[in-house]
Each structure stands twice: as structure tokens, then as C-alpha cells.
């Protein structure tokens, strides 16, 4: 079986230093993967990861680099052999990569997608013309980054006024006549 077109265009990405796969030649794994994966699945995965990165307004070089790295990382996944789709693996690999870029690193039970949201937010803010003050963001208990959209609360009392109606004139007249 031929190497999938998407994978064939890849150059070997630098593997993470702490990875078990560090220093290993990637194309070999891609070829092995291709023997069990449908060609279209790889093509779709490649297109999808590029479409996702395009929406992040990154420069083309960074898009290519991240896409290749995500596909390579997906190809190294053991789940690949058990029949997991290429799209899922590639997108999850990309999400994990983006999550690792996020600062502060989320704590607790945050999923990689939740963690990647932090990076996506910072990426979007960084693309603005003006620096964003640190006070504009805050981290909640689960490690999610949130906008501090309002200033700190300094509560004061605002008690509703009593609607005290003046006695109607006819009651006053009534009193003149001796009523009440």
C-alpha cells in the first residue's frame, strides 16, 4: 500500500525531548500506519488540522510546522493500531500540543481541550494592537482562565424608598365632617 498523500508530504518533525520517541525516524512509523489506515482518513486529518490552525490566525510557517507535528504525534500514538480514526488522533494531538503551550498550566481535572482554550485565548489577545493588562484575566479554581470583566465589588446599601401616599383629599374632607 502506498504512503498516504498527507503523510508523504511530511518532513520529520522534531520530537519532544522528553518523549519516548525522541530521536526516532518518523516516516517509518507513518509508513507502518499507512498500511492499516485508509488513505482518505489521513487526507481528511491533514486538511482538518490545517483548517483549524488557519482559524487561529497563525502565520503560514507556524501552521505548517504545527500541522506536521500533530500528524507525526498522531502517528506515534498506540491507539492508532487499535483502529482509532486519524482525524481524532491528529486533532487530539494538536490539542495536546496547544495545551502544553498554555500558561498558566491548568490544574485539576481540566481536559486538554479546556487547557488548549487558555492558549487560544492568550493567542487571540496577543494578536491585538494593545498589551492586555494582567488584571484583565483571572484564573478560577479549576485553572480556567477567565476575563475579569468587572472591577472588584464594593457593596453599599440601597434600600428602596417607602411609597408613603398622602391621604386622599376626600379623607381630609371626611375628617372635617367628623369621620375618622
Amino acid at each position: 500500500m502506498e504512503l498516504p498523500a498527507a503523510a508523504a508530504t511530511l518532513s520529520p518533525p522534531p520530537a519532544p525531548a522528553d518523549s519516548d520517541d525522541a530521536g526516532r525516524r518518523l516516516p517509518v512509523r507513518c509508513c507502518e500506519a499507512a498500511t492499516v489506515a485508509p488513505l482518505d482518513d489521513w487526507r481528511l486529518a491533514s486538511e482538518r488540522v490545517r483548517a483549524y490552525l488557519a482559524r487561529l490566525d497563525l502565520d503560514p510557517g507556524e501552521v505548517r510546522e504545527l500541522a506536521e507535528a500533530a500528524i507525526a504525534a498522531a502517528a506515534r500514538e498506540p491507539a492508532w493500531a487499535s483502529g482509532e480514526g486519524a482525524v481524532t488522533l491528529v486533532m487530539d494531538a494538536l490539542t495536546a500540543m496547544l495545551a502544553r503551550r498554555a500558561e498558566p498550566t491548568p490544574t485539576g481535572a481540566a481536559t486538554p481541550t479546556a487547557a488548549s482554550a487558555i492558549w487560544r485565548l492568550r493567542n487571540w489577545l496577543a494578536a491585538g494592537k494593545h498589551p492586555v493588562p494582567e488584571t484583565a484575566l483571572e484564573t478560577d479554581a479549576a485553572g480556567h482562565l477567565r476575563f475579569a470583566a468587572m472591577p472588584p465589588i464594593r457593596r453599599i446599601n440601597m434600600a428602596p424608598v417607602k411609597i408613603d401616599r398622602r391621604p386622599a383629599p376626600w379623607r381630609w374632607l371626611g375628617r372635617l365632617w367628623g369621620a375618622g
Binding site: D92, T113, P133, P151, I156
Partner: protein, 697 residues
Amino acid sequence: MAPLSRKQLRAANPHWRRAATLRHLVLFVLLAIQTTIAGEYMIQILPYHGQTWLEIAIIATFIALFAWISVGFWTALAGFFTLLFNARWHAITRICKARGSDSAALAPTAILMPVYNEDARRVFAGLRTTYLSLQATGQLDHFHFFVLSDTTDAVRGVEEELEWAAMCRELGAFGRVHYRRRRTHIKRKSGNIADFCRRWGSQFRYMIIFDADSVMAGTTLVRMVQMMEVRPEAGIIQTPPVTANRISLFARIQQFANRVYGPMFTAGIHFWQLGEAYYWGHNAIIRIKPFVEHCALSRLPGEPPLGGEILSHDFVEAALMRRAGWEVWVAYDLGGSYEETPPTLLDELKRDRRWCQGNLQHLRLMGMKGLASAHRAMFINGVMAYTSAMIWLLFLVLSTAEVAVQALVPTQYFSSKPSLFPIWPEWHPDWALALVASTAALLFLPKLLSWLLLLVKRNPPVRLFGGFFALSVSVVFETVVASLLAPIRMLFHTKFVLTTLLGRQVKWGSQVREDAETDWLTAIRYHGGATIIAIAWAAGVYWLNPSFFWWLAPIVIALVFSVPLSVYFSRVRLGRLTRHLKLFSIPEEIVPPPELAALNEHLAPLDARQADVFRHTIVDPHTNAIHIAMLRLKTSMPPEKAKRLQRLRTKALTLGPNKLTELDKSDLLQDIDSLNALHRGVWQIRDPGLSAEWGLA
């Protein structure tokens, strides 16, 4: 300057108080004399000179109506002379300038924009315009902007968040432009502002209230704060907003009327009210401390619609502020304040439905202790704004009944009581004509005076209204249009008053703020009944007395044609045509002020992908992250809700977004886990059809 104490306020004994008391007395006397004369005339006109119950009822309704239109007339006349002779003795702008307001230092001020299911793009375009205008003055540091959302529609809520974040990023406004969305919408707009006051109000000395379509010039905002600083007795200063920026025919006519007649009426309101004036709920500055202490509204006793939450809170807040000793001014000569008018007649009527209930509630506040007499009169004025329609209709019905009685019942020359003389019915058509002419003068003379004022004062120049000819023709056309619309409004307002009194309350609906046209079916649905009634009425009157038909013709003809009038007045194409012909032109159209020009630039159209907010929020990596960063973390969730969300996520990923209901979307948009899971899941869909549905293809 720090707020004055109540004792200091009382000791201040402002010089305008004497003038106000005298002016109120003069107005009362003028109204009394004028209405007495007109009432006497009416008695003479009627065939039995007020000796039948029917005629007594006709006279009573006529007197109420005549007194009501006389108030408008004298207000216009006072405004005319104020502007003609530039009589600004008690103008708050002049008083403050004399105290050195131009060089006064500014104090921390919050600009509040309460929103409720509005078009977020328009809201933030207006806010952005004001922000940039204020930035250009170099005084931005003294101001903070707060968008206080009561939006219930989840999708519109997301739109607001995205617009807020985009604006802050683009202008570097994080920490200066704030956004808050309330979960519980207690007391609607007044509750929204009160919530701000309780939590953040102590950090500011003043707040400037905006409506969702308000735009204000930075220089005006700065001037308002400076005026408050040098006038510590002032609690509220209201600016007169100019209506602009709409292009439907109806809206352009309303804008024209507001721009030509509005300044004169506002000057007149100022003349009679001075420091006991109106607050219209927006485009006004408020001193926060006394507002917090004296203007928090309680619920009215009893059930809605006349009890419960106070809807027209602005009038009440002005009255309470004054009751506590603080002044309420209309700065009639302050420019740089803009708003928009409803695009169609039906949209205006929908707004009136809400205002009607609010104003009728003021009946219950009329007897409140300690209110200034001017504010009690203001409440009566507000009630009459809608009940006058019912009284007018009653007057017409009674007049028709009188005609029917004359036509169908044989004349009784002798009453049941013993009498030496027969009762002769007398008709005085010449007197009737004179009375109609004088009533018409009260209604139309103010328009003529406004026109004259523009020609004499040339401020703004007549060329900014399209030139002398275009201005004059526009005034005539506007008068005709106002006459045609008056009977239509009369019927609707009568219906609003009756339904309110019968206990039906208004839902809190958002206002239409873009140029949307009325289609024929909608017009028939709303005006069809009026058309049928008018045809039957006209036919009946013609059968009874053909000569009376012509008296009634202006009213029934307008009602008969109410469907096409409503449709054609809503047309944007006709609005553009009149604009091309320079009819109904206003200076803000011909030479748009920088703020309105900038507003239109900021209203960039959305691309198709962003238009579907739910899909965009799930799919787009940035939008998804921004929305998640706006949500509050839920510490716990009932198991049923968690199961439902799980089902919805599966449904969304297997069947696509089009199979979700609005409620489904709303629930998903408010759950962080669902947003993360869907974002991951959607990008992993392999089915081409489903991918296309999510916008991935």
C-alpha cells in the same frame, strides 16, 4: 465637589425657585382662562347648550382635551420666546459656566449602558463611538464604561460577550470597558442600574445613563461632569437627545419633527419646570450618592399592571431626587446627544404599549408625600399622554351619538319639568368653525413657530434642512402625516389604556433598532380591525347626517387607509427617495457630526460564518475560548441536568446543530464542559454532510 447634605440643600434656597413658582402660577392661570373660554364656546355650540347628559359628557371630554393641548401650546410658545430672545437666565449651562464649569476638574464617572436582548453590534458600535470621542478629549481616564446586560437570549448574550472582548482588544480598553450579565432580572432596567449602584456605585461620583442606541460626544460628556462639579445642588442633568440615523420614511419624518420642533418644546419644558424637570431615562448624568439614598424604587402595592414593579422608573426617580432636595435640570441647549427612533409605526406603537402601562402606574404615585407640584403635574402629563387618546375617542363617539339623537329622536320642545318656554335646539355652525379653528391653531401653531424660528435664528442654518423650499414643504408634509397618524395612534392608545386597566400587563420586549419594514400581512393583522370600524363608522354617520360626515372625514379616512399608511411609511426605499429630494432632511443627515459618521463606520456587516453565533461559538477556536472565559465555573450540577447536557452533546454531534432547539443551544452555551466537548467533537467529525452542517467543509 462632595454631595451636599439635605440641610445644606434646604439652606441653599435657589433663586430659580421663586421664578418657578411664579411660572407655574402663570401657566395655571393661562390654562384655566383659555379652557374656560373654550368650554363656554362649546356649551353655546351644542344644540341644547349642555342641558342633556349627553351634552354634559361632550363638554367634559372637550374641556379635558382642550386643557391637555393647551399645555403643549404654552410650552411651545414659552420655548419659542426663550430661543428667539436667547433668554437663558436660568439655563443650567449658563449658570454652570458662570461658576467656572469650563475649567472644572473632572470626577470619576461611570457610563452605564443597560441592554436587554439588543443587537449587540449596534450597542457596541455606539459605545465604541462614544469611547473614541471621549478619548479624543484627553479625559478618558476619568470615565469607565459598563455594559449592564439583562439579556435572556443565550445567543444574543454570546454576541454581546464577543463584541465586548473584540472592542476591548482593539481599543486596549480592558479595565475601562466592563461587561456584566445579570442572571436574575429583578426590576428590569431600574433594577439593573440599582444592582450596579449597590456593587460598584461607591467607586464613582456620577453615572451617565445610556440607552442601547445612545451615542454622545466626548465633549458633551466632559461638560456634563464639569457642570455637576460646579453645581453641587444638581442631582440629575438631562440632555435633549437628537434622533438621527434612520432611513425608513416613518423614521425620517419623526427625526425631522424631533429636530425642527423638539428644541422649541425642550426649551419650553425648561422654561416652565426649571430645576424640577424631567429625566427621560437615558442621555443624562446622575449624582450617584443621592440616587442611592433616595431613588431606589420599591414595588407598588397591588398586582400588575398598575401595581408591582414600576416600569416608567425615570419620571419617578426624577421626582424622588427632587423630593430629597436635589435639582433636576434639562440642559436644553447642550448638543452632542443622540438616539434613534423606532423604524416603523408598529414599532413605535409597541414601545408605546410599554410606556402606557408605566405611565398609568403613576396614577398611584400622584399622592406620594413630599413631591414637588411640578412632578405631580408631570405624572398627570404622563398619564394624559395615553388617556387623552381614549378621551378623544370618547368625545368623537359622544359627538356621533349626539348626531344620531338629533337625526333619529324627535325633538322634545318641552321637558318633563313644568316650564313656560319651549326648549329650542340651536345650531351655531359658525361658532363651531371658530372653535375648530382655535383648536387647530393650538395644535399647528407650534409647528409654524418652529419653522419661523429656524428662518429667523438660522441656528442651525436652513441649508442644513435642505434649504428654505425643502424645509417649508417638509413642514407641510409632516403636518399632514401627523394628522393622518393621529387617529391611528388614538385607536391603539385607547386599546393600550383599556387593556392595562383591565389587568393585562406588558411583556418586557426589546426595541427594534434597525430599519425593518412592515409587511402587508402584519399591517392587516394590526390595522385591519381599525379599517373595518372606520368604514362602518363613516357609513353610519353619512347615513345619519351627511354634513357631519365631513367633520369626521379627516379621522375616518386616516383609519380606513391605516394599512397602506403603515406599510408605505415603513419603506426604506421611500425614505431614501425623500432623502434624495431633500425632504425631511436634518443637519445630522446633511453634515453628520463626527460621532454619527463614526457610528456608521463601526457598523461593519457580519460575515456569514459569524452570523450563526451558536455554530461559530462551538467551532471557531478563538470564539469558543472567549466565550468560555466569560462563563462562571459551576461547582455542582444536578444529575438530571448533567444527563440532559450529555444527551444534547450526543445529539449535536450525531444529528448536527440544525436539530437543536433554541433551548438546547442555550443550555449548551452556558456549560463549560459542553463547550469544550463539542469543540473537540465537532472538529473530529468525519461525515461530510455533518461537517458541512457545522461549517467545517
